[in-house]
């Protein structure tokens, strides 16, 4: 466990270095979230009865989504890992006495956490101060907040283990830019990155809810506001654990097979 923690720490510190980039990023995400909320507000004004979530829940959903963007968005891949596969540096990685899956996993997770930690707090703070209908509200109860935190961690795990599958397929395809883009676009959409899952019309919603992508940002963002509460929240967390286990297991098996075939690119 220790080497993974070391990698995590190193990456985390590394990620904290780019403070002005973080500042620009925060302003961007804040403006972005605000526009997103205004769009939902316009729909709410058009027909409040057709709105499938409480408006305040939607507002919280979007603010948290923007604040924790780096944790949840599938398209946030590690360029370094793709490079190591295409340039052949993977050979060094393999020579190290450390399990590659764990190494990549902790590297990806650490970078995401570092980005999110730096950016989330100021965004959340400002979001909690804007005028009433657009304000980020507190979670309904302390217990709900704890469930939210657990769910955030799990969804980070699910997102990372999904990205692992993408990294591993690169071993076969080498140039994966297109496939990466496709996988990320679909996964993010089905995770509720564009519109929250409750806004999906019925057959699509039911399908999306049983896919692993629903265990990504969909779950914690809805648990926070109490949109998913009590038993349903516990059940949701159970589903997240299930998908995390399935995806990591699948990833490890895939990796074993892929590494058996890995062709080190010379040069």
């Amino acid at each position: 466990m220790k080497p993974y923690l070391a990698i995590f720490r190193l990456r985390f510190i590394n990620g904290l270095q780019y403070r002005s980039a973080a500042l620009a990023g925060m302003a961007t995400q804040f403006a972005w979230g605000f526009m997103e909320i205004l769009a939902f507000a316009a729909f709410y004004k058009a027909n409040p009865a057709a709105f499938p979530m409480e408006f305040s829940h939607t507002v919280s959903y979007i603010w948290l989504q923007q604040a924790f963007l780096a944790l949840f968005m599938v398209w946030f891949f590690e360029g370094e890992i793709f490079d190591s596969i295409t340039t052949g540096n993977i050979a060094y990685e393999l020579a190290r006495p450390i399990d590659l899956y764990g190494r990549w996993f902790s590297q990806t997770a650490a970078n995401r956490v570092a980005k999110a930690v730096l950016r989330s707090l100021p965004i959340l703070l400002v979001a909690a101060l804007v005028p009433a209908p657009y304000r980020l509200s507190l979670p309904p109860a302390a217990g709900q907040f704890i469930l939210f935190l657990i769910s955030v961690l799990l969804s980070l795990g699910v997102v990372v283990s999904f990205s692992m599958l993408i990294y591993i397929t690169t071993v076969y395809t080498l140039s994966a830019a297109g496939g990466r883009l496709i996988a990320a676009a679909l996964a993010d959409f089905l995770a509720g990155a564009i519109i929250p899952l409750p806004f999906f019309p019925q057959p699509f919603r039911a399908i999306a809810e049983v896919l692993p992508f629903a265990a990504m940002q969909n779950m914690p963002l809805r648990i926070y506001s109490g949109n998913i509460a009590g038993r349903a929240a516990l059940w949701g967390i159970g589903i997240q654990i299930f998908w995390l286990a399935v995806l990591t297991l699948f990833g490890r098996v895939m990796m074993k097979k892929a590494l058996g075939k890995v062709v080190v690119q010379g040069g």
């Binding site: 002005s20 980039a21 620009a24 990023g25 302003a27 961007t28 403006a31 972005w32 526009m35 205004l38 769009a39 507000a41 316009a42 729909f43 004004k45 058009a46 027909n47 057709a50 709105f51 499938p52 140039s175 830019a177 297109g178 496939g179 990466r180 883009l181 496709i182 676009a185 679909l186 993010d188 959409f189 564009i194 519109i195 806004f199 999906f200 019309p201 699509f204």
Partner: protein
């Protein structure tokens, strides 16, 4: 110009060397904007209208912005990519060549996979133009062309501003994404739905609404004044400060030394 075309051909040829990779990328680009489209259509299964705009009318808006953006991106990707040109020192090489700088930047990167977006804009137009129920006369057709053309010039100018910022920051300025990518993403709805302040901002500061919202009202017959039809032209002067800022940035340029 001949040189530029030669570069275009070169980029095309090199990207066509990896055909599967190219088509996957194009498909990816297509899907990324397709999920946004899907989001809009999901919203409209629930809501009949937003701010008085029905689904086909919103689609018309979405397609205009998407097409304007993808045209600008297709030709102006070099500016979008500009921070990297500065960082790698490539700009120094460009400056010593006996050719004007702007065409060189334009020719430095042309990604044909971005056509994925353009194709989608065309497909949406194919659906929305008849479905919007607009009685198409020559003046309305002209308005639509103006919207797309002037829109792509506005987006292009935004790319230039983005590039000009990087003379000072070296890194790309992430905040500009709110206006470029954000302009595209939020432009899927008429800017009026975001409220009056936002509409005002996108009218007077960053003139995105001038080619999107106002002429759309003319297309839909909600405004009949010819002024609304010609509104996209008013967005064109935006290119002047953009270019001026670019010149200013260039005059302050210090090489990164790499």
């Amino acid at each position: 110009m001949r040189l530029y075309l030669k570069f275009v051909a070169m980029h095309l040829q090199s990207q066509m060397q990896y055909k599967i990779s190219f088509f996957l990328l194009a498909l990816g680009q297509f899907l990324v904007s397709f999920t946004a489209l899907l989001g809009v259509s999901f919203m409209f299964t629930r809501f009949n209208a937003v701010d008085g705009f029905r689904f086909p009318e919103v689609l018309l808006c979405l397609a205009t912005v998407l097409m304007a953006f993808s045209l600008a991106e297709l030709f102006g990707r070099g500016f979008d990519h500009f921070p990297r040109i500065i960082r790698s020192g490539e700009l120094d090489r460009m400056l010593v060549r006996p050719r004007p700088l702007v065409p060189q930047v334009l020719a430095s990167l042309i990604e044909f996979s971005r056509l994925g977006r353009l194709v989608q804009a065309i497909l949406v137009f194919c659906y929305a133009i008849p479905a919007s129920g607009i009685h198409w006369t020559w003046d309305k057709a002209l308005t639509l062309c103006l919207m797309v053309l002037c829109g792509s010039i506005v987006f292009f100018s935004l790319f230039v501003i983005y590039a000009a910022f990087s003379f000072f920051t070296i890194e790309g300025l992430e905040f500009m994404n709110v206006f470029t990518d954000g302009g595209r993403e939020f432009g899927r709805y008429p800017y009026s739905i975001y409220g009056r302040e936002v509409l005002r901002f996108f009218t007077y500061v960053i003139p995105l609404a001038l080619f999107q919202y106002y002429p759309l009202l003319y297309l839909l017959g909600r405004r009949t004044s010819i002024l609304y039809m010609l509104m996209p032209l008013l967005a064109l002067p935006f290119a002047i400060p953009a270019y001026a800022f670019w010149r200013y940035g260039l005059s302050k340029y210090n090489s990164t030394g790499s």
